[in-house]
Subunit: 448 residues, 4 copies
């Protein structure tokens, strides 16, 4: 048995100065534990012991245009572990002509044997048809409890397709996430910006107005209302969007909200950086304005945001982002973040949110919303031994040349931060220590 | 000179016991007037004298599928005059491949020489392209100050097209109305209802959920917000839709709201009538529920609805509506109403709204919103002599076989009502008396 | 056993064509029942069989100024039974210097032996002090689960007192109702109206602006929020007030809403009636405007109003109301209604609300909110046999000279209505038949 | 003539690289100015030239309990000038038994001859009576255009008094500000906290819950609505309070909002500081929570807050604050701030608000709301030459031992800030340079 001692256990309900014993990948005891001779003692003194953090929005080994994301399941999950994340939920994508089950299979193969942390998959449905409809039951049985649709990009479904999907999803107990931006408006804006000679990164936020997000959230929520299916707004980034969610909740819609750290600490002025530096921050939705940052922080504090994820989707700056040097619409969209989410959240909020709330946002809520609770997301006997021992006192600076992510930059470069995982356990084994991977691939597929 | 005596003049600001003199088609004097010998005296004793009512949403001589509406500009405007309406704003429709100016020309020819009341045209843009874009200036100069777009039907534009149109419309000072329903959802619902064996009129409201209207209103308002162009929600029918308008106003969107009498007095139980009787009420959006009726009435009273129109679009029950006897989606959509709007509004609201507010809703506001004020919509010297002398005491019953509308039914059949226009003047000439047309075609095209 | 046959049983969840057997004051069986020889058969053919209606806001035998209400527990409950109500919740009032338990005792004595229907008591606390605080536990044990406070009148508590009361009430599981009007504003308005020479009934609504109600609701809800105690807004009458409740619910306040039929069918124009007729309608809050009527109806339909009561508080027009002939502030406030609530609700809503919703508003919800469910408010085996067999087809006209209420007028005089209880059972015995009391005093005190 | 050269002039509408000439206390020219020989050149290179900042909420030379505030009009306005503020609006207070005009006189005498910057007075009405009512006209003529009332403290008026005052204030064109907290609740909380043994500063925020502010704002807004008088919410501090203002605006209430820098950068954790340090931050309303800070910042950015003031009310920590060492309710309420408002706002918002918006919040809006525009608050010819030449590049640290305020601490101690007024002109004369008073008493009474 491993025994984590001298730390403070964190749950959404309270803090407990107790020990925790791990055996055979599970939490087997919580309490005042007297170690036996051959027990391995993990010293968590001065640390907060969290149920391992869950990042429910990552894109690893994802083909985008002709590119693959810079991080695959090896480097991506290595970075996740280093930062304190013990489970990710990535996106298996069914492209046009493909089947859902085959897509799941493809993504499972991408991850198999490579993962430092546990992984599950949302299924991104990009070709809604009778076959897909009939696969839903099997997909659910294969351990997938969440679907995703797009309202923008080539991968978008139209409103009727989304509504049909939602109605069927409800039958089998899925929750359906959505990338909410009005694709018609965005594509048109991009074209007109370019027609007007705007090719630089400063045009990117102009092509993605806050209204395009808020509108799509309104629309998706109405589809959710018509269907009765629980829905999830992924990477919500705007004040206007939050107002739409509030409206939907008042109407009785079962809607959850995810946001990401980058939207709460960086703003759109980044797109005006010279020397194509703005490309480092090109993601969709884009970074927003101060009013959005404050609204999102307020929402986190008062509980209007349910989960925090990263939308990690990394591309190298020197080669991949460079494809869009002459045309911002050709910049692969996405930023790295999987490694730094926990520490950035701490940077943003400090003591403004309690350790219990932090646990809720980063671990318990994602586990609950995505059907993994209490196996994940809870410090309790019988749960998987995914544990992050967080040392709040360590001061350090984020540097791209000193991270596990396999990409040549980070949007958080140079930020002075506090806190780091002293130990990270995945299925009971030490996956990272003091912010470094131990190079043990303990990650398993999580059936939900 | 004609002198209207002994009545009470109504304006949005107050009631005045004054006389009004008409000469050469204009109001030339308001005050205590001593008639001269050869003046024609119009006795308005016991009556309210309104600026002639304006119906800013009619469809006369409109081809729908292979059908033409039952009322053309002859019968439709005859009925309008009989009911107290002195100006209509009909819709010129630019179909695919057509030009805006040609569409205007076509519709002007439909009306020319036939109209009992004045007429103007909104331009329904169904094919947004570079040519249409370039015609906007000329269209504005041709006296058209309002455009219309559809979010449903074959005539729908997509969101990007609507946004572009709005941006250009703003440059030239148009207001843009929209049929707000989510076409994708509605078509899909129709198909699935029929696939499930539902072909009767009772399926009609199921294919048009309130959410489909509210969603589209939200979307159109966001497009309005992005463009800065003033917009108009036509035939708003739901409580949810009103909430969307309220949200948009709070966000600073310049949005006006039109509703119609049928949505405030009839409900969706009509679609369950036997013997295909429900078809008489098939219009889009459909009749709604009690909660919607009450919400609309409340909105009228507190001033959240700006204008009342009819969406008059009549089809004979015996032949035209009958086309959908076996398939509710084949029923030509639309109801007659142009003749009964004033009296139905009175029936609904009685003394709940003042004569001033009634004037505002039925006459002044439509004139202002659509660029005809104070030439229309105002009792003041210099204004066109379009005048409705309303006798509030007359009690009668609405009967299809006793009306001017050229259609074999009315949705208001059998309703006991109070009030009728004693005299209706169009451009200074008597166009109707005691609810009957005088058969004088005084209507002219109104450049706005 | 009595067996109710051939009717349709109504519950909030559905309609059931089943029989129901009564024995020893209880419902003993529901189902397909084959009567035995000596069973008494109650023929409910064509009728809806409801759990007996509950009127959770009545004032019987209440001293107001030097007056006693016209109805005491004898005549008031006789009228209740005649109309279909089988349980009332009246108000025991603790006046200044009195104790809560003594007040309860006083009111129990007023009712004992006289009641045709069951009765419980809210406790109106008008003198909040240490003694009252210490009595709460005993009061709760004596079967009282609801308190009431006033924000207007001599009986008002100040905000700090209300907050203290709420905090203590929460400890013992009370719900606290409140008469929400800003007493300071109202008294001031009354004085200034009279100083300006306004003594007639038409000044009454001016002294009670909608804002005075909405303000007080906002305030009471904030006190409720601070305390965490469930609260009840009694006799809510305005659109503005509904908006305040909505706001409070969004903030997480546990707030219930009661309204009364008079606020949904009569308006403030009544106060302008000549010959002091307006006095018949003087109650507080007063009748309101059309916008309020529509907003309340909408709220009933969409479920924003939880319970419907009467605020029955009757005074004779010829003598008691007459005290205020020269000064509207001296008119005893209150209207009769206990007998006509069920039929007036039917008059207002017809088929706009289903029988299930009607059951919820009139019976199940009051039972739940006030701690009597499922003993009251439910047709289920083991429940008290309080049953209203409603015959929907009977057409009649409300007349003061043809009612059981012991008062010389009704605000609903002359209304043509449909439906009447064919049989009303209280604790298993027939308390009324065809709208007439059987003169059996079966009512008992209901411990909650 | 003095000529300010090489700077960038700031107005709410834009930035202009122009010169500005001062003569005889007025701005006499704006444009490209060629200085004459004897013109005095003021070099504003690298600086933003603002219309002098206005602090519309200060308390100088104010008796509180037996204490006088630490700053009188000499030291307070000296500090104001040093920080860049050229006009203050202080509060003349009419105590019980006093007259309004006498109160004004008293306060004018306090300021006369001592003021480094211009000053005007709000009139705090604490004894509403017939005499006060009759003085309003004379008060308005004496140059006072704003009243203030309290809903808490000994100085509170009751709701009826406030409503009467508002109605009379409207007649004479006043705006009425209000300290919105529910005094009844706060006093009760204070007593109960002390009864429970809570005497330390950490009890202060518990006695002033956010709900007590929001409730009072709701109430005051309803009184404003009833009266039609424009109102001002002073020192708004909470998210809940902002929601109330939003509600009131939707209802058509003419309501303005003031907030203060301390509520946007400091939080209630200050009250837990040891060694009575918390007393330095004791003001009413108290410092709030992170969610309030973010909500206020968001409101500033989107324009929901109209003016920024300080509520400067300074008491020495070593002696005056010390009076409450054993009882937090005896701590004189108030914090110093008059000197640091401009730089703290810059600290908080950086580039999140533009120079134009900064000008609007700090100068133009206060001038407009309080009837001094465009004499104050505008850089235009003919306006008073109150000018703040802001050097954005200076970096410094706030230290109590290095400030002009006559008090032994500042709540902003140790904050590293950027920017400082290089020159401050009051009525055309140099009142401060590089953050130091020039010791010239140019301040005059501003009739509004």
């Amino acid at each position: 048995m491993k025994i984590i001692q001298n730390g403070t256990l964190v749950t959404p309900k309270g803090l407990y100065d107790l020990s925790l014993a791990i055996y055979n990948g599970k939490i087997v005891e919580i309490g005042e534990i007297t170690p036996k001779e051959d027990d391995e003692i993990i010293d968590a003194s001065g640390c907060l012991v969290f149920p391992g953090f869950i990042d429910a929005h990552t894109h690893l080994d994802l083909p985008v245009g002709g590119n693959l994301t810079a991080d695959d399941f090896e480097s991506g999950t290595r970075a996740a572990a280093a930062g304190g994340t013990t489970t990710i939920v990535d996106f298996a994508t069914q492209y046009e002509g493909d089947t859902l089950l085959n897509a799941l299979d493809t993504w499972k193969r991408k991850a198999e044997g490579k993962a430092h942390v546990n992984y599950a998959f949302h299924m991104a449905v990009c070709d809604w048809n009778d076959n897909a409809r009939h696969e839903l039951k099997a997909l659910r049985e294969a351990g997938v409890s969440s679907l995703k649709v797009y309202m923008a990009y080539d991968t978008a479904l139209n409103d009727a397709e989304i509504l049909e999907l939602l109605e069927d999803a409800k039958k089998y107990g899925f929750i359906v996430g959505c990338h909410c931006e009005n694709g018609s408006v965005i594509t048109n804006r991009q074209e007109r910006l370019k027609a007007g000679g705007r090719f630089g990164t400063d045009a990117h936020p102009l092509a993605h107005p806050a209204e395009a997000e808020a509108e799509a959230i309104s629309r998706f929520c109405y589809l959710g209302k018509l269907s009765g299916c629980p829905i999830n707004i992924v990477h919500l980034s705007t004040r206007l969007g939050l107002q739409e969610v509030k409206k939907a909740k008042e109407q009785g819609v079962k809607v959850y909200v995810e946001s990401c750290p980058q939207y709460m600490i960086l703003d759109e002025s980044k797109y005006e950086l010279p020397d194509f530096e703005g490309a480092k921050y090109v993601c969709s939705p884009p970074l927003r304005r101060a009013e959005d940052i404050y609204a999102l922080r307020e929402a986190v504090i008062v509980g209007d945001i349910d989960t925090i994820a990263t939308d990690h989707c990394s591309f190298r700056f020197d080669t991949q982002k460079n494809l869009g040097r002459d045309d911002f619409t050709k910049i692969p969209n996405g930023c790295p973040g999987i490694e730094h989410r926990p520490v950035i959240m701490k940077k943003i909020f400090g003591d403004q949110i309690s350790a219990m709330d932090y646990c809720r946002l980063m671990s318990s809520n994602p586990a609950k919303v995505f059907g993994m609770y209490p196996r994940k997301g809870a410090l309790q006997e019988g749960a998987d031994a995914d544990i992050t021992v967080w040392d709040p006192g360590v001061k350090w600076t984020i540097r791209a040349n000193d991270m596990e992510q396999n990409v040549d930059y980070t949007p958080f470069e140079g930020l002075k931060v506090e806190g780091r995982p002293r130990f990270v356990f995945v299925n009971g084994e030490l996956a990272a220590e003091n912010g470094r991977s131990t190079d043990i691939h303990m990650g398993e597929y999580v059936r939900r």
